[in-house]
């Protein structure tokens, strides 16, 4: 009996050793994707949608990139800027990943990009909209598959003017993302000849809007342009409607005001017009097959975050196919990534010299609880990243 025990233990050990050895061989060959996204806290839904979209794109290609297996290393960023450099170092130095994909939160992006600069790690940003990431912080190894605040709000400036609005009140949270969004809108609107009557900055992340709505009513502008997101977006639109302002002063906004919020908005959202680089109702082939594949896989309608994850996956698929899975030549890898062109669910997608998406921005109106596309507010819009020409 004793002998048997010893033997079986030895067998077990050697079997384990063999298994470990086997997996090491497999891992050496796999493309390692380090996902630095929020899997807990306020932005969980965004982190999950991006991850779902990314995996869907790679699954559609047989779960491989350029003929190599894919290994996902998911690290919860907690959307915490203070932990960003340390988390990024762990992925790049500890896990030795080939690509870092993240983050959602612009504050986290600042910390990540510091490490990206030091290590040269190839980083693909699937959300975080701070303009500086592809402008002042300019790095050849950093790409963006998402948007910048400016890109989504600038087209609304002309739309608002063309709709006949001349005096507009803008309102957002007093933080970098909100102010960058407003700056894009104001730049285009004042260039057309419109006037910003008042710019209201609400302390972040307050959702107590009553006093601001009263102020807006007393200013009597032609329209209001706003950037809020998540719960703040829902609160603002609902309070705006409840105050009876929607009928007399049309509400315009960045797409993030209503993105992912349609159910929570209910009737209050009807008629609200926003600009964004995606709408779930887009009628191109890529979007229709994407929406049905996503619904089959995850049981819910995709939003723009899922598309951003999906396009990150498609970008990798296309680049590694061109390279035959060989990521050893960094210069060539960066060059191939920069020249990726996708027939994305959001429309044609390519990259500028600053590695920022060149894409359509759509004017969308909520009708029957859906973002219906009214028009293309700006076609193949390129962001003027003056400080970054790679």
């Amino acid at each position: 009996m004793k002998t048997f025990k010893k033997t079986s233990l030895a067998t077990l050990l050697s079997a384990t050793a063999m298994l470990t050895a086997g997996s090491v061989v497999a891992n050496e060959d796999a493309v390692k994707l380090g996902l630095m996204l929020p899997y807990s806290g306020t932005y969980t839904a965004l982190g999950e949608a991006i991850t779902n979209g990314l995996k869907l794109a790679i699954e559609e290609e047989g779960g491989q990139l350029g003929g190599r297996e894919v290994e996902y290393i998911e690290l919860d960023s907690e959307a915490d800027p203070s932990k960003a450099p340390q988390n990024m170092s762990r992925l790049v130095n500890g896990d030795d990943v080939d690509f870092v994909i993240g983050p959602v939160h612009s504050g986290v992006a600042m910390g990540m990009l510091r490490v990206a600069k030091q290590t040269g790690a190839i980083t693909i940003i699937p959300n975080a909209g701070l303009g500086a990431a592809t402008n002042e912080l300019c790095m050849p190894n950093v790409f963006r598959t998402s948007f910048s605040m400016w890109q989504d709000s600038y087209p609304m400036g002309k739309v608002a003017y063309d709709q006949g609005h001349r005096k507009i009140v803008t309102i957002t949270w007093d933080y970098a993302g909100g102010k960058e969004d407003l700056a894009g809108f104001e730049e285009a609107f004042t260039a057309e000849g419109g006037e910003i009557v008042e710019q209201i900055l609400v302390p972040f992340p307050s959702t107590e809007f009553q006093s601001y709505l009263t102020q807006i009513a007393s200013l009597e502008p032609d329209a209001v342009y706003t950037f809020f997101a998540g719960g703040g977006g829902v609160s603002f639109v609902r309070d705006y409607a409840a105050a009876g302002l929607k009928e007399s002063i049309p509400l315009l906004g960045s797409g993030f005001l209503t993105e992912g919020n349609l159910t929570a908005l209910g009737d209050a959202g009807e008629g609200v017009m926003t600009t964004l680089h995606y709408a779930e109702t887009l009628e191109n082939d890529a979007n229709q097959s994407f929406v049905s594949a996503y619904e089959n896989a995850y049981g819910e309608t995709p939003d723009t975050y899922a598309v951003q994850g999906y396009d990150t996956g498609m970008m990798l698929v296309q680049a590694l196919e061109v390279l035959g899975g060989d990521t050893s030549d960094r210069e060539r890898l960066i060059d191939v990534l920069a020249n990726v062109q996708l027939a994305s669910p959001r429309g044609p997608l390519s990259f500028s010299d600053s590695h920022h998406p060149i894409q359509n921005v759509y004017l969308r109106e909520i009708r029957d609880g859906k973002h219906e596309v009214v028009s293309i507010a700006s076609e193949n819009l390129e962001v003027p990243d003056d400080a970054c020409q790679i």
Binding site: T44, D174, S206, E208, Q210, T214, S218, A242, A243, L245
Partner: protein, 286 residues
């Protein structure tokens, strides 16, 4: 700002202040009498809102959902007090802070597991789903007026209990000198259980009644917690009257500060707190 809009802003400030009072009253009771700094108070506010959202979906009626959610909140308070806090009364404040901070994490994560990360809403219930015209382009939700009425009524009830009942005398005595109350033969343990459950129920109730006015989202209780601590400190720890006036002051300051001095809007309440503490270090009504 003309008179009409000034009056509307007064109304806004009063309504916000009254809701703050409802949340802060539970906090000040627990803080003042039990000496517990309940950091999880904001999380309870969130749980109240999510409970009423969930039950409204299940029962199809907001009022029934409220009726069902209140006992759940009280039981939650009971469980937390008996199972966790009860073992820590003899320890230093730091242990209680650690525990209630841990509760924030647990409750936030529980919220995410049960209800997910999406933003939800509760429709404004009948018969208050109407609005009245205040100025030529501004309406005011009748439900907001109803919420003000409920908050005022509850403030009245709490005031009456504290001033005119034996329980109120014990609570006030407990806030002033806990050892003496215990020495007089009052069962402080039972008192603590009662206070904590009522405190939790009050803030959860505030979350429920505020649900149709706000968006129900993860972390919604975290920011309100800070504001409520400011209210409690201004009013004086343990004082219900202080919580009431503190809440009204903060409600008005937030509303008018936002419009009149927007560059300082996020600091106004802290400036007021600092000013009050300079003049009355223990708060206005301590």
């Amino acid at each position: 700002m003309d008179l009409a809009f000034f009056s509307v802003q007064l109304l806004n400030g009063l309504q916000y202040g009254l809701l703050l009072f409802l949340i802060a009253s539970g906090l000040t009771l627990i803080f003042g009498i039990m000496g517990i700094i309940n950091l999880a108070h904001g999380a309870m506010y969130m749980i109240g809102a999510y409970l009423v959202y969930d039950l409204t979906l299940r029962l199809g009626n907001f009022w029934l959902a409220m009726l069902a959610a209140i006992p759940i909140a009280i039981v939650l308070g009971l469980i937390i007090e008996r199972l966790f806090l009860d073992t820590l009364y003899k320890r230093d404040h730091l242990y209680q802070v650690l525990l209630t901070f841990g509760l924030i994490l647990v409750l936030n994560e529980a919220q995410r597991i049960i209800w997910g990360g999406d933003v939800h809403r509760v429709a404004v219930p009948a018969p208050f789903d109407a609005s009245i015209q205040l100025t030529d382009n501004l309406q005011y939700s009748v439900y907001r007026l109803f919420v003000m009425g409920v908050c005022l009524a509850l403030a009245g009830v709490i005031y009456w209990v504290m001033r005119h009942t034996r329980l109120g005398i014990i609570i006030r005595a407990g806030a002033a000198n806990r050892d003496m109350v215990e020495g007089l033969g009052i069962n402080v343990r039972t008192l603590f259980t009662l206070i904590f459950s009522v405190g939790v129920a009050l803030t959860a109730f505030a979350g429920m009644i505020a649900a149709p006015l706000t968006s129900i989202a993860p972390g919604m209780g975290d920011s309100i917690l800070i504001t409520c601590f400011v209210v409690v400190v201004i009013g004086g720890i343990g004082s219900i009257k202080g919580a009431f006036w503190g809440a009204i002051i903060i409600g008005m300051a937030t509303t008018f500060g936002a419009v009149l001095i927007p560059s300082l809007a996020s600091m106004v309440i802290y400036l007021i707190m600092a000013a009050v503490l300079l003049v009355k270090p223990r708060g206005l009504f301590a």
